[in-house]
Every structure is written in structure tokens, then in C-alpha cells.
């Protein structure tokens, strides 16, 4: 018999070594998340997946459940705090959804809708972030970077290339690429890299193709993010 914990009253089975969010997603139960990706090692930086376990708040992507553990996720308080974190990510960068190629396919945007975020609330930082169009096939628009480090992990752990890394500290943290010139074109990045396909927002974008799928027919136009559980997971037979 497999071990279980409860998430908002529902019984969730888990295997040894799984984190709370992994078990929850496998069971078809959505916990908001941005830096977590079903195929990658836990990271724990965005903090959106924070849940309450025996009175303490903790990121569900880094904590492994124990038999009989009681976990709360869909509470008004947690969702309010997740909404505030999402607002923080919006004001920290420059996000112009209406003109963004990723609109409708963007996890940040879809998460904001899910959490009922109506405004960005905080004063915008309006950071000066560069655009790198040097590469033949791909564009980097760092205005939209939320520092989830998925591209860093994909390039390092899957592609074996280390094309991306985080540099700087604190509010100056930013994404860099592996070239003395600082240009993507001068790295060994390629369109077939895993790193080219993991960005949850609109930073790493293919060139020569724009709005191929019209707005209105995109991933999160069809159904909200929580209905997918994670749009990157293989669909389960129901």
C-alpha cells in the first residue's frame, strides 16, 4: 500500500523521494508554481508553491511529504500572498502582455489570471534590461525574465552546455549567456536545445515566426492554468 498525505482534505499518494508538488501534480491537483518544472530538479526560488504544513509555510517543491501529513494550499491567505508575489514579478521586470508573443502561452500571465490579479499594485521598477537579437534562430527579451533559472538548469543538466546562468545579486540579479561578448550568437546555443523550450515567460523566443497561433486560441485561452495542472505534463488517460 502506498503512502499518502492530505492536500486540502484530498488524499494524495506519494512515492519515496517525491516532493509535495510532484505528488500533487501527479495526482492531478494544481498548486500554483513558476520555477518548478515536472522534468527538473527542485529549485525553490519563486515561492508561489508555498503551502502550510503543521502551521508553517514552506515551498512545496522542496519539501518531501511524510505519511499522514496535512497540507493546506487553497486558502485565502496563501492565495493572497501568491498574488502579491506574482505582482512583485510583474513590477520587477517589464511585462507588456498585449504585445508579447508569449501572451496566452505564458505561465506568469496565466498564473496571474488564476490568482485573480487585477493590477500590479506595486510601483514598477522599470528596469533597463537589454534585448539580444544576435542569434539567427532565437531572441532573448530579458525584460520578461522572472529569474526562475529553468533555462539555466535545462542547459546545464540536459543540454550539457551551460549557455545560461544567473549573475549579480539581489535586485540586480540577471540572466547572462556563456560568451565573452555577452551575445547569444557567440554561444553554442541551438534551437534544438532543451533550454530553448522551457522558458515559462517570453524571454527565449523563436525568430521568424510570430503569432502563428492567433490570440484566443492559445494554451491558456482554451482553459485556465489550474485545469491543466501543468501544461507541460503528459495528459493522463481519464
Amino acid at each position: 500500500m502506498s503512502k499518502t498525505f492530505t492536500l486540502d482534505g484530498k488524499t494524495i499518494p506519494f512515492k519515496d523521494g517525491q516532493t509535495i508538488i510532484q505528488a500533487a501534480l501527479d495526482a492531478g491537483y494544481y498548486i500554483p508554481h513558476l520555477c518548478h518544472h515536472p522534468e527538473f530538479k527542485p529549485h525553490g526560488s519563486c515561492k508561489l508553491c508555498t503551502v502550510v504544513v503543521s502551521g508553517h509555510q514552506t515551498a512545496s517543491c522542496t519539501l518531501q511529504p511524510a505519511e499522514g501529513m496535512v497540507v493546506e494550499s487553497e486558502t485565502e491567505q496563501l492565495n493572497a500572498e501568491r498574488r502579491a508575489l506574482t505582482q512583485m514579478l510583474f513590477v520587477e521586470g517589464n511585462h507588456f502582455c498585449p504585445s508579447c508573443e508569449k501572451s496566452g502561452d505564458c505561465q506568469l500571465q496565466a498564473t496571474a489570471y488564476h490568482l485573480g490579479m487585477m493590477t500590479t499594485h506595486y510601483d514598477h521598477f522599470f528596469p533597463n534590461r537589454p534585448l539580444d537579437a544576435s542569434h539567427d534562430d532565437y531572441l532573448l527579451d530579458l525584460n520578461r525574465c522572472i529569474l526562475c533559472s529553468l533555462c539555466v538548469r535545462a542547459s546545464r543538466d540536459v543540454d550539457g552546455k551551460n549557455v545560461f546562468a544567473l549573475a549579480g545579486r539581489g535586485a540586480q540579479t540577471h540572466l547572462i549567456v556563456n560568451a565573452r561578448s555577452g551575445r547569444l550568437a557567440d554561444t553554442d546555443f541551438s534551437a534544438t536545445d532543451k533550454a530553448a523550450h522551457v522558458c515559462p515567460v517570453g524571454v527565449i523566443l523563436p525568430k521568424k515566426r510570430g503569432f502563428a497561433v492567433p490570440i484566443g486560441e492559445r494554451t491558456f485561452d482554451k482553459q485556465p492554468i489550474d485545469a491543466y495542472v501543468d501544461s507541460r505534463l503528459a495528459r493522463k488517460e481519464s
Partner: protein, 602 residues
Amino acid sequence: MGSPDTACASYLDPILERYGYRSVNLLQILREAQESFGYIHPDAVDYLMLKLDIPRTKIEGVASFYSFLHLEPRGKYRVLFSDNITDRMLGSQALMERMCRNLWAEAGKITEDGLLSVDTTSCTGMCDQGPALLLNNIALTRLTEQRVDDICSLIRQQVPLHAWPTEFFQVTDNIHRKDLLLSEGFVPGAALEAALHRGAAGMLAELEASGLRGRGGAGFTTAVKWKSCRNAPGEQHYVVCNADEGEPGTFKDRVLLNSYADKVFEGMTLCGYVIGAKQGILYLRGEYRYLLDKLNAVLTRRRAQNLLGKNILGQPWFDFDITIHLGAGAYICGEESALLESLEGKRGTPRNRPPFPVTHGYLNQPTVVNNVETFAATCHIATAGGACYADIGTAKSTGTKIMSVSGDCARPGIYEYPFGVSVRQVLEDCGATHTQAVQVSGPSGVTVAAHEFDRQIGFEDLPTAGAFMVFDRNRDLFEVARNFVHFFAHESCGFCTPCRVGTSLLRNLMDKLHNGHGSPYDIKEIENLNQLLLSMSHCGLGHTACNPVLNTIVKFRPAYEARMLHQEFTPAFDLDWSLQAARQMTGRDDNLAHLSNTEPLP
């Protein structure tokens, strides 16, 4: 074109050689590369990539994390004014402006001739002899207008640092009250002899009986930590001494390392004996670079005395040695898991826990990380026994605590007391009068108001890493809190969203109040942000970043109310202030260049 190999090899090869061409030593290699060349040149990055077999992204990611490392040219003379509130209270801001004026420099920038860069840095641990600055990472103390002028002329004449007057670099201990730890007469080796006599299990039992708790502030029971580490399986065990004394207002480790280094190193060796480690590492904060040679000399002497190295005290099985790792300006590395990352040559980002360092620490091996003062205390437990130690202090806080006293008092410096001493007693001893508040344990600690001065230092009431900053009735506690909030925003590692963005938002709100745009709405916003930081942050930095504001809002409400010039929400944006850049560019500051002084448009 000369290959970068030949140009860089001359200064990088000896460094790489010393650090065994191991990328785990990346931070030390980068620090020394910069000491040789002035900054980390792109050619040097190319060379290190090749020799260490690591990607450029790793090198740039690490170098850009630490405040004292530079990937771009800095001035030949790099001046960093310590920007703790105690430095400010001693006039550091005016002195920095004076230096900039004297030398035609602009804060935060390098002068056009490349001679000088002037900026601020977080507390350099010289609060009892400030204002202080770091010049090419070496500490200068007791700045006055005269001394700043003298420094300026030395810089102008490009006199090399070693030819400067030695009194500029003088750092004194300023010990005003001694107890157990600061007592004289410790004979190097005595504690080790005693421990060997007791045996490792016996030593652990004495440690348990002593009730010793970690002196870094968190107060974890030392015996439990050592025992867990001793029992944890691993290829190697490690002893790490946390001397990254970054909490503003704290400088007791500086004094312990300057004058009592034998106790610290002997405590580390004791730990090595108990947990079965062969290697110890002292993580020394970059601000204490000036202590490095002296500490290395102590290590060399201890090796000669057979107190370090192979077959310690003639025991054929007892090998233990200590190396010193220098930090490079990152407060977050005082957090033990970030410190371990930094030791491994990485960005100082706190790890996800569990697992904890006692089982998975340095290089994923069982590791004890303790504070400087904790290790020093274990020497006394080894020699006199645990029961003797437990007799000092209070039931849950045994032993003594060294306080770093600074701010508005007649005798700033070091005071060692048995735990349980009242705030009032310390204030009386250091000659503080008309005291309005004391910040105990630095910005992440507690603001203690006058009606609480009978509270006691100890884990039961006021736990502390040692900082004790005194503010008299003339000080504005809002400005104190604002300085601390700026500190946290500067030192956030940037890993998690709430702390990376939240500390900046908090700083902006405090600045908004400071600039006269505050309303009750902003106070509510500050409280909401504090709640979010507390509940969502990854580590203690985010959790405690709100302490100074939360404390002062409750205890010094009038200081905030004086800032609430508006009842209704007012935006932080101010049109006239925003024209500052235009005024600077056009060189104008006359009446008509200010909005408030122009006639309204018809």
C-alpha cells in the same frame, strides 16, 4: 596579437598553483586575481575557464555576486565608506562628500583618470572606532576631516598604500570588560591536552554538561550539533568557523581573532578531534582582510608547536589543519548554508534545508559550522569542565557573551558579561546617557525602547549575536530603521522572489516617507510587505528584514507619524525631483529650474 595565455599566466599561474587548480577554490582564486590585477579582466576569465575547466557563466555568475569583486576596471584606489548607522552618526556621509569634492569624484563612479572610485559599503565592523572605510579592501578607522584631506593628498600623489602612515590603519581592541573568554593566561595546547585526557566522548559529555549554545544568534545547542555530525556517515568530516561577522554593529569576532586567535583555532581543533575531521576552514569576512597575514602566522606557529598538522600532540592518529577562506563582501554568507556554498566557490545562495550541514555540509560531507565565539568558549569547557561553565550565566543561557557596543555612549567597544545582564547595566557601563533605544543583535535583531531596559541578554529574553547599538534622545529612529532597510535591500541574495523584490519595495516605501510623501496607506503597505517577507522568504535574511521597521513602528510611532504629511494616498513620484537629472545635465539650479518656483501655466 599576444594570446591571453601569456599575459595572464604570469600572475594567475602562481595563484592557480596555490589553490591546486580546483574550481572549488574559485572565490579565492578570483579574489587573489583581483588583488594582483586590480579587477578581473576578461582575459583572466578566459584563462581561468581553460585552466579550471569551468564555463564562463560560472565565473561571471560568482564574481558578480560579491560586492568586492569587479569584472570591470575600478579606480587604482578603491574607497568604500562603511555605511552603518553608527558610521553615519559619526559623520561618515559628510566625510564621503568631502572626499568626492576634494578629488572631483562622484560616488559610485570611477574618476575619468581611473585613479579613484568612491562608494559606500555595508558595515565594516569598526563601529567603535568609526567612521571607517576600506581602501583596496584594507580598513582605515577614526576618520576626521583632517584625515580625509590627508588621504586625498596621498591619493593625489599616488603614494603606494604601504608607504601611508601606519596610524591610519590602526585598529584597536577597545576591551572595557573582561570575563571568561577575554581573560588572559590561556596556554596554547592546554585545552587540547585536557580534551585528549578526557577522550572524545568525555569531551562531548563536558560540552553537553556546559549547556553551550551557538553564539551566532540562533543558539543551537553545540553538543547536539557536534554529536550529530560525529555520528553522521561521510568520507570526510569538516569543521567550519563562521567569521563572516556581517551583522551591522557586530565586531567581537574581529577582537577575538586579533587577540585571542589561539582560542578560536584550538576550539576548531577540539571540534576536529571530537567529530573526526581532518580539515578546518575559517571563513573570514572580506572586510577583515587586514587580519589575514596575522592569522596565517598564528597557524604557522601552531603547526610548529605540534598543535596543528600531523600527529598533533604526538598522537599518531590525530591529524588536523586549518585554512583561511576570505569572503568578498556578502552579508548573506553569514547564513551557514550560503557560507558553505561560498566556501565551495559558488554564489552565496542559501541552500534548501533539510538536509542540514551536520549531515550534508561542505562538499556534501558532515560539517560543523560554528561561530568564532562558540569555538573559543569550548576551550574553557575543555580545561575547566562543563559544570564549571554551566555555573556562569542563566539556566538556558550558560556562560558569557561578548557584546559589541557602539553608538551614543562614552566608551564604545567590547564588553563581556555573564548571560543575564540587563540592557540597563550595559548602558551604565558604557557611559550612555539619555538613551532612547538600543538595537540588540543588529538590524535583524530587536529595537529595545527605554521602558524595556530591564530586559536581559540571553536566549530566554534578548538573544544576540553581540551587536549593541545605542541611540540617544536626539536620534531619529525612523532614519535608523531606514538605514537598516537599505542594508537588507542591498544584501538580499536575490534568489527568492519575496526577498529580492520585497526588500526593494520596502526600501522604496521608507524612502517615500523620508521624502515627505507618506500617508497612512504607506504604513499599511509596509505592514503587508513585512507579513509577506516573514511568511514567504527562503531564509533568515528575508524573515528578519522587516524587524527594524516592525519594531520601530510599534515602539516609536511618532517618528513615523511625523512623516505622514498626507492623510490621503500620495504617489511617490515627484515631478520637480524627477527634473534633477535635467538640472544636472544643464548645469542649472536656479529658481526657474524648479517647478515650484515657476509661474503656473495660464
